[in-house]
């Protein structure tokens, strides 16, 4: 397995750094499929003859495993380099689909929990953080642009997987019509689709692993390694970073930003119909609501690239002031004026979701500014536990309030207002946490590397 050694993936002189973003995208476009898991939900419920909750648990397990594997695997990824990490991610993510396929074929739901949920979830976490540190090291002058390009792929993965999965289900089950309401594909089609996706993602992710290189002199144990410092020459190891208030303030920032965004994303289709319901009938059709979900996906993806790239000019803390501060205003407008016009509702929601995506994509660069690139991948991995926590908190808050308001299909805009005001409060907490972020105290630096590398011209936020 020496081909996976970090030393074997060091770039030779003349290697173009513009090969690194497609390598990262190959991984992120693949693992981004997780956001399209709902495509299988109705068919899996019918195949296993169970309720929505046991099937939804597959996705939940995968997201929890994402956070845990990113947190615990971050240091390993940093030490062994992006190629080994991408290969492990590819094998786990692909194996998750194959084990899941076996579970569908044999009608064993627990195999989907184990496969897609646990094994695939580990692939998700390792894959998500695998290129981040490398991208920042290749693009020290534009870390926001670099991570924005890759993490945009995670949003884009669902855009590919959703129509592709429907096409595959239709191919293996001639009776399946994805445009029909509550369309159900048979077990054979589900199992074959999982099989094909598993193989396809393995190929694409291994392409990324073959392509990726680390810049010369960035080896973990290389005494002459060049690490890009954060503000004031900061170079902080992951184990030390989690002992700083800055880490936990950024954790709160990410948690609040994601919690608020998920509140809208998870309810997007019913929400737009409920907002424009009068006399029991909504003026927004199911097809239009589906279009709204598509538009939010585009806003999510665009926000990841545009806002993260913008942060290279504005500084990281200022851009989060926008995400959280303007986000508060957007939520208030949505709660108070959202029913006045469909165009206004769609516009406000799109901006909110673009901030949600931007928050994900900008955070690695924020960490680089605070802690340097020494172990930024591992720090990022630990920070992603905020995502797992928000993935639970957001839906619990929104669904809890909506369940208390009435039954799905009978709700109106008034039912959503308490949830939207709660999200305003959540964003306000994140806003304050972001304002409290200061440069890391020198006592946390690893003095063996801190200050050795030259500092770049950075916009101090």
């Amino acid at each position: 397995m020496s081909v996976l050694d970090r030393e074997r993936s060091v770039a030779r002189p003349g290697f173009s750094r513009w090969l690194i973003p497609p390598a990262a995208l190959a991984v992120h476009l693949s693992i981004g499929q997780v956001y399209a898991f709902s495509v299988f939900k109705t068919s899996l419920v019918a195949h296993f003859g169970t309720g929505q909750t046991p099937v939804a648990a597959i996705f939940s397990i995968a997201i929890v495993m994402l956070g845990l594997s990113a947190a615990f695997g971050g240091t390993w990824v940093e030490r062994h380099g992006p190629r080994a990490a991408m290969v492990v991610a590819a094998l786990c993510w692909s194996a998750g689909f194959l084990v899941g396929s076996l579970g569908i074929a044999t009608s064993q739901l627990w195999l989907l929990y184990l496969g897609y949920g646990v094994i695939g979830g580990i692939g998700l976490g390792i894959g998500y953080i695998s290129p981040v540190s490398t991208l920042i090291k290749w693009f020290p002058d534009r870390p926001g642009l670099a991570t924005g390009m890759a993490i945009m792929g995670f949003g884009g993965g669902a855009l590919i997987a959703s129509p592709l999965s429907n096409a595959l289900l239709g191919h293996f089950d001639a009776g399946f019509d994805p445009t029909a309401k509550d369309a159900v594909a048979d077990g054979h089609a589900l199992a074959m689709t999982f099989l094909v996706l598993g193989v396809a993602y393995l190929v694409l992710m291994l392409f990324g692993a073959a392509l990726v290189r680390v810049p010369p002199g960035s080896g973990h144990a290389d005494a002459g390694a060049v690490h890009v410092p954060g503000h004031r020459g900061a170079q902080v190891r992951a184990a030390q970073a989690i002992r700083t208030p800055q880490f936990w303030l950024v954790w709160v920032v990410l948690f609040c930003n994601v919690t608020a965004g998920i509140g809208i994303l998870e309810q997007a289709a019913p929400m737009i119909q409920d907002f424009f319901r009068s006399g029991g009938t909504s003026s927004v059709t199911a097809a239009a609501a589906g279009g709204f979900v598509g538009l939010l996906s585009l806003a999510n993806m665009a926000g990841r690239f545009v806002w993260s790239s913008t942060s290279d000019w504005t500084g990281r803390r200022r851009i989060y002031v926008v995400y959280l501060g303007v986000g508060i205003v957007m939520y208030l407008l949505l709660a108070t004026l959202g029913t006045s016009s469909t165009a206004l509702f769609v516009g406000l929601a799109a901006v909110i979701i673009s901030f949600y995506g931007g928050g994900f994509a900008t955070v690695p660069a924020y960490l680089k500014d605070l802690f340097g690139t020494l172990e930024v991948g591992a720090v990022h991995g630990r920070l992603l536990t905020a995502w797992s926590a928000a993935g639970v908190a957001g839906p619990v808050i929104v669904n809890g309030i909506l369940d208390a308001s009435g039954k799905p299909g009978t709700l109106s805009a008034g039912a959503y207002r308490p949830a939207l005001f709660v999200m305003v409060g959540v964003l306000a907490v994140g806003f304050v946490a972001n304002l409290l972020v200061r440069d890391v105290d020198r006592r946390h630096f690893d003095e063996s590397v801190a200050g050795e590398a030259g500092t770049l011209e950075e916009v101090s936020a």
Binding site: P13, G14, G156, A158, L164, V226, G294, L295, G454
Partner: protein, 51 residues
């Protein structure tokens, strides 16, 4: 390699050592499925204004 030289490379992309075709090819591998997904999503999103 110094940070300065890494940053300096940005003004000379792609580097002479990497064929332009390789860079373009790598981007095409990821851009093609992404373009497919974007198109499909745009078609779906259009129903917001037509459906």
């Amino acid at each position: 390699m110094s940070i300065d030289s890494q940053a300096h490379r940005a003004t000379h992309e792609p580097d002479p050592g990497t064929p332009v075709a390789a860079v373009v090819g790598a981007w095409l591998v990821v851009a093609t499925p992404l373009a497919y997904g974007l198109w499909q999503t745009l078609v779906k999103a259009a129903k917001l204004f037509t459906g």
